[in-house]
Symmetry: C2
Subunit: 316 residues, 2 copies
């Protein structure tokens, strides 16, 4: 379900490094060469390139990329080149430092990753920021958001296939009662959303829909301006249907007056190796325009080329 394309014969990390070094040298940077290499290597291959680059040239590849590229292209190529757990730690830290209620990045990292991936991000956060992820989230958020976000980023959900149908029924009822009373920050609402396994939660929310006539996210739209409700809906969407969640993030990023490049780059960089093909299909279904065409219309130059390469365009 990834869109990433990798050539059949992959050059050695040493060869890739030599080419990258060439791309950095001389008059101007050869962005096309950078894209032709990095946008067609998976996480393990990029890691090997970074290691070989540091060993050969005594500099972190990310530092060279930082010096040699600019703007939206720079941010995308850096995000992409980072190892996924490091990238999540970096994105989470940025989100925490600039935190405002509308920010969805922490929810994405906590809910649209596997339990092991979230834990790897917490380890990378220690290594890079000398603090724990939950510690920084707890300090920089307040009120209901803190109540939701701290357990979300600390969670290590069970991932087995077991579903307890009785529990799904009783917790669907519990959710419905609390949501009807507009007790959206209720302890049990938070507990259910932050600790149950994803398959259990999906069963609960299916039961909610069957029993009470509405998908839970519809009932959580009682006040469209309430940012906490938006956060609850994002949590549920990231858990139950991440492809629809990310389709919407891209749609809003593109449809804005002035593209939201941060959001667009984040989704493409974090999903190209995961499920961007499914997001792509969801996008076409919802917008009747292929995602690559929409992106080509809205972006330019090397940034556009890099996005399309990660989307799997053969010639990019």
């Amino acid at each position: 379900m990834a869109t990433l394309t990798i050539p059949e014969a992959i050059p050695s990390p040493a060869d890739d490094c030599e080419q990258l070094r060439k791309a950095f040298h001389g008059w101007g940077t050869n962005e096309k060469l950078i894209i032709s290499i990095l946008a067609h290597r998976n996480a393990a291959q990029r890691r090997a390139i970074r290691e070989a680059y540091a060993a050969t040239y005594g500099e972190d590849l990310l530092k060279s990329l930082d010096k040699e590229t600019t703007g939206d292209f720079e941010r995308l190529v850096l995000l992409w080149t980072l190892d996924p757990p490091e990238r999540d730690a970096w994105l989470a830290n940025e989100a925490i430092r600039k935190w405002r209620p509308g920010n969805r990045v922490l929810i994405e990292i906590a809910c649209a990753r596997s339990s092991g991936e979230l834990f790897a991000a917490r380890q990378a956060y220690h290594a890079r920021y000398k603090r724990s992820l939950e510690e920084d989230v707890a300090v920089h958020t307040t009120g209901d958001f803190r109540k939701l976000l701290v357990p979300l980023v600390s969670s290590y959900r069970y991932e087995g296939p077991e579903v307890n149908a009785t529990l799904a029924k009783s917790e669907a009822k519990m959710l419905h009662e609390k949501i009807s009373e507009k007790a959206h920050n209720d302890e049990d609402v938070i507990r259910i959303l932050t600790t149950r396994s994803k398959v259990q939660l999906i069963a609960t929310l299916n039961h909610y829909n069957n029993e009470f006539g509405n998908p839970v996210n519809k009932d959580l739209k009682s006040d469209p301006n309430d940012e906490f409700l938006t956060a609850l809906r994002a949590t549920i969407k990231c858990i139950c249907c991440p492809e629809k969640y990310f389709e919407k993030v891209i749609r809003l990023a593109i449809n804005k007056m002035g593209t939201d490049e941060h959001a667009l780059s984040r989704v493409i960089a974090t999903r190209a190796e995961v499920d961007l093909k499914v997001i792509n299909e969801a996008y076409y279904k919802r917008n009747s325009v292929p995602l690559d065409r929409a992106i080509a219309k809205d972006t330019r130059g090397d940034y556009e080329r890099m996005l399309l390469a990660l989307l799997g365009q053969e010639d990019a």
Copy 2:
């Protein structure tokens, strides 16, 4: 700082298994033989024995031990033989199922382990109980205890040596204000205790003591019958001075009318490979009686022999 003694020449796991099998067979069980093997092998060696035993006899060693032993000796030998993360998962699950406010086991596992050990226990909990540790804690606890225990068992504290002195001062002040107002369940009190690194927390509490004239645990004794205050004190003790915490658990277990064998076995089994020597010293300092003599006076038979062997007595 461990008390566990291991012979210089260790038999192969296969030889150990053969001896254990002999100990189980025939008229009665040869407990002394069991002790002479298992109480003198470290976690990796016990794991190798369990694997060899399962491969050779088609039965889990724990099951055989369960069938062939009884009473307090059985519980101790089973606890000891379990791999540490599995043992923590097992103890945590038992504590959750029988949870009452006075139970300290979850606090011990969350606070007197390294971050990696706590995470290993959460992984073992998934494997054994098909749910997450925090999920079960959240369901079986309520009120202030839930507010404290869920983040405690979900924590992955940073473990580097960095201390922020300014932060220590401001958070010491914050703790003092909240404790003076008897707002013991305040969000920030819980946040500080459950997310800060242990060295940072120790710096904060040292500053508290210097600035406000009392150790924080003294100020948290305003109502000796308040179980939540006891839980906060246990949290702080497990983080700041686990050897004193465990010394007290053993002291109370032994001094009771009728020994509290569960507590005694738990501390000996979980600390023999970690810091039982330091706990031993703390015990002697506080009680003017060597711990092994106190235990010998209070326990009997194979249970006594196994405890003393884990305490490092050469002939046990």
